[in-house]
Symmetry: C2
Subunit: 428 residues, 2 copies
């Protein structure tokens, strides 16, 4: 299969700005090259018109809990404790594989519609999530969330996580990879972490966890252990394997140095951190400190969407206020965090995240027809500060078209919506 | 003209939540009532189907500079000083009436598309803005921005502002009202403020200004005058007339008490405050302190859109982090600030901002068909935390339909876009 996307404006790599018009060739799963308009040679099975459109690398949602679309609008405006203890946790105990499967599909529809091509998901009933991802056509780093507050939970939880990772790592023709996910330093003790690291080394998979999300959690950790959660994980040897750490709201300079020194990737989740009143992560300080800063939406219970275009804009403007500097997190840096740094965070860094020869063909075409793209002085700034998910028109993963002309190609949206509405009624 | 909007979910007043299904009758410029489904009596000239849709009071953008759509993406990621002195001010000196007219229309298209029915605008060439508003059909509080840093500028600036207000107050069949706008305490001395207040009393119009936007501005004011800008305006007697103050990022408890005591309305502009690194206004503290907190986008140069749906969500989640309490600014409060508090801020408080008998028929219909509205546990939370401007399908102001089925009725969008692209090319 050879596809030509012609005459589109193209962001090949965020740091290189926008090419006003180019022809992009896709061969099989990869980009075969970026050419001047009319300069691509040979026959094409498909030609996609790109005039008046902007082609960018696919968005990478570096932290989510997909099936929590079930809980969108379910528990609003509560304290974190009431939210978890009175609403989310009791409801999660009633989850079934069927519910997780359909609400994962719902989340996948939403992600495709807003231009996400890859994501990192940590949840339960992960085989169902895997099935959904296989059908939808996205790329994903999946992991079972290990929560072992008591010693008797350690073995069963680790076994579940291991079984899932052994079965699904490399599935869907390589689109699915697995991670191990001790949920957080405050829900998993040192034994869990040590075993997870040993297993991660054996399976050659990364660790995806929650880290330093709330002030209270970090204060309590320091009180109990005499050090920050970041230092604690470092001393446990966790950073000897690739780690993707969500949130990192309450990290100090020393923590940032540690994260950078060990190439830890951070999934910055600004909407969720604001909505749950967790705080504002020092995103720009992390980027400046050499941390690979990706962006995630977190689950739809605390966002309440899975829209990376919205999340990228928020990350860009919030970083400026947090750093007290309007030059912080300029548009190309925000786009990089939403795309190529996310690819690296998921472990696909070397051949994903750019529109260039040899890279995996994950990309998104924005329709620039909306009035908010006028006058168009700076298309990259327009993409970061102005665009919305509804502007996404075409989505491609590994050369396969998942949406075109805003029509889904791999999923039956009507069926997904109908099944989810039905399941939600029963769930209430 | 009698219009029936049937079977829609309806937010009549934000604090009352969502009526799952109702019939809303519009007679002439006003709502004639909200009835049970099928209970509205009589003949109708138009029936609008509302099933699967959500009808809400129109959004009120309480602070913007409409024609700055010209500068969207024009000056990104700069310090405030470079942004103003090197980019915006030199460019504004080249503005013409023609440019302001067309880029105001562009902003009006964008506002209609995202559900805004009324707004407060302060800029230059205001006759052109007035002409554009007259054609578009929105409701607006318009004012010429008085900048008088030297004594010789005082008289000419006040005269311009007065002439505009005298000519345009009450225009467009009452849809246009005028304000007087000394730009800010740091650009206008006491004489300007005193004269503006006297004139506001004479013309019975409010004052719309910028207040306490940056820390530096407030620090310098305190150094020079020994009091905060809020106290200073109070002592000058400015709050004897209705005042709409944009930003109020750097206000302390005492300032908040003063604003509340004098019924000053605040236009909270979270995107602009973040993007320019001005800070995060204590929005929830102001609401709790009794201030009428409205929401504004500010101009498209610092937002970069005029999308109130996006701004409402940001105001809601940002307030939680700022107050360190996830219960702060719950969904109904955010919606109230984006609608009825905005109506009050613009001086239309008594008969605008609710869907109820006798109120002016300004309303917006959201299409709930998008996948992000599933499963729909809490439609009001979905509206605040999930919806996007592109979900707006129908917009009505004073009983007149400005958009239906996402098609504009009063403006020629293609012509507006073409003219703006052309003018922007010349401007560069």
């Amino acid at each position: 299969m050879r596809i030509l996307i012609q005459r589109a404006a193209v962001v090949a790599r965020p740091e290189e700005g926008v090419i006003p018009a180019a022809d992009v060739v896709v061969e099989g799963k990869h980009f075969a090259g970026v050419f001047g308009p009319g300069e691509a040679q040979g026959e094409f099975d498909r030609v996609i018109e790109g005039e008046g459109k902007l082609l960018v690398p696919g968005f990478v949602n570096a932290h989510t809990h997909l099936a929590m679309t079930l809980f969108r609008g379910f528990a609003e405006d509560l304290t974190l404790r009431d939210w978890l203890e009175k609403k989310i946790w009791p409801a999660e105990r009633k989850l079934t594989g069927e519910v997780v499967y359909w609400f994962s599909l719902l989340g996948l529809v939403e992600m495709i519609r807003t231009g996400t091509t890859a994501f990192a998901d940590m949840y339960f009933f992960m085989e169902e999530v895997g099935r959904a991802v296989e059908e939808a056509g996205l790329r994903a780093l999946l992991s079972y969330g290990i929560i072992a507050p008591t010693p008797d939970r350690i073995d069963p939880e680790l076994k579940k996580a291991e079984a899932f990772a052994r079965e699904w790592n490399g599935a869907a023709d390589g689109r699915i990879r697995c991670a191990l996910s001790p949920h957080a330093p405050y829900t998993c003790g040192p034994e869990v972490w040590r075993e997870a690291v040993a297993l991660a080394k054996e399976l050659r998979v990364p660790i995806h966890t929650h880290l330093a999300e709330t002030k209270r959690e970090v204060d309590e950790h320091r009180e109990r252990h005499g050090k920050s959660p970041v230092q604690w994980l470092e001393e446990l040897g966790v950073f000897a394997v690739p780690v993707l750490a969500a949130h990192c709201v309450w990290v100090d300079e020393k923590d940032i140095d540690i994260l950078a020194a060990h190439n830890v990737s951070v999934a910055h989740c600004p909407s969720s951190n604001l909505k749950l009143a967790s705080g504002i992560a020092p995103a720009w300080a992390m980027v400046r400190g050499g941390v690979n800063l990706a962006i995630g939406t977190d689950g739809a219970a605390s966002n309440n969407t899975l829209d990376m275009v919205r999340e990228m804009r928020l990350a860009a403007i919030l970083a400026k206020a947090r750093a007290e500097d309007p030059r912080a997190m300029p548009a190309p840096e925000a786009l990089s965090s939403a795309t190529q740094r996310g690819a690296q965070a998921l472990g696909w860094g070397k051949d994903l995240g750019a529109i260039a020869e040899g890279y995996v063909a994950d990309c998104v075409l924005f329709d620039l027809g909306a009035v908010h793209f006028v006058p168009g002085h700076d298309p990259l700034a327009d993409l970061v500060y102005t665009a919305c998910g509804a502007d996404v028109e075409m989505v491609m993963v590994g050369g396969e078209i998942l949406m075109e002309g805003r029509e889904l190609r791999t999923l039956d949206e009507e069926e997904v919506v109908a099944r989810c509405r039905d399941l939600a009624r029963k769930f209430r």
